[in-house]
Amino acid sequence: MTIDLILFVGLALISIMAAIAMIVSRNAVYSVLFLVLNFLTVATLYLLLNAAFIAIVQITVYAGAIMVLFLFVIMLLGTERESIGGRIRWQIPLAIVLGLALAGELAFVLLRNDIAQGSLADLSVEFGSPASIGRVLFSEYLVPFEVTSILLLVAMIGAIVITQKQRREGK
């Protein structure tokens, strides 16, 4: 119990600090790297919550592929620095107050339901393993899975079309 708690508090602090650093750092490249750190700590939390498959997917897809895409676009456009000034005066304090209010309400709503009050049962290694997830994914959720593949194809074509059309108009 105590070791788990120490692990969780450490990971939670790292992920919260990485998220704050991502928001406040002026250079977008640093923001990407802090977000990668946040994703890696959350992946470790997934491991602690018996979700091994999701943890690996998180690392390969999120921290790997998606964040490399972000870094690539930032470096392609060369817009890592944000211009200073011209901001609405009450924007930052108002955003922080609204965000904290949202955090409080979220915590209240999430903690009030029955599931949050429950205790954890001991699990076998099978839970959350790729084999067990795959069995559910390819039987009960086969149609959504196929729809997702079409969605990814559409997104790929869409990305190509959006960037290409603009180039033709420029010439």
Binding site: S31, N50, A65, I115, G118, G128, L151, A155
Partner: protein, 105 residues
């Protein structure tokens, strides 16, 4: 892990609120986009936590499957969103969201 699900849900709520704050205070479109990814991620954390709490039941796997779909949709969303940002940069020479105001009357 044997920590109360309430702690993980609290962390998820805090991360979500930080994502909202990021969207509200930043003007770089890419950083706003990254804050949205942070929010998706915190929602995933809540789903995994619920799945772990419901655990030995067969329904608990649905949390994991749902997170899998959220990650796949996020990948598609990032591809299209970044293509849009590149297109906006080509016409405006900037990705500051305050500059993109052509539709304002």
């Amino acid at each position: 892990m044997n920590i109360p699900p309430a702690y993980v849900l609290t962390l998820s709520g805090i991360l979500f609120a930080l994502g909202v704050i990021g969207v509200l205070i930043r003007r770089n479109a890419i950083v706003i986009f990254m804050s949205i990814e942070l929010m998706l991620n915190s929602a995933n954390l809540a789903l995994i936590s619920f799945a772990r709490t419901l655990a030995p039941a067969q329904e608990a796997f649905r949390g994991h499957v749902f997170v899998f779909f959220v990650i796949a949709v996020a990948a598609a969303e990032v591809a299209v969103g970044l293509a849009l940002i590149v297109a906006i940069f080509r016409s405006k020479e900037s990705i500051d969201v305050d500059e993109v105001s052509s539709l304002r009357g």
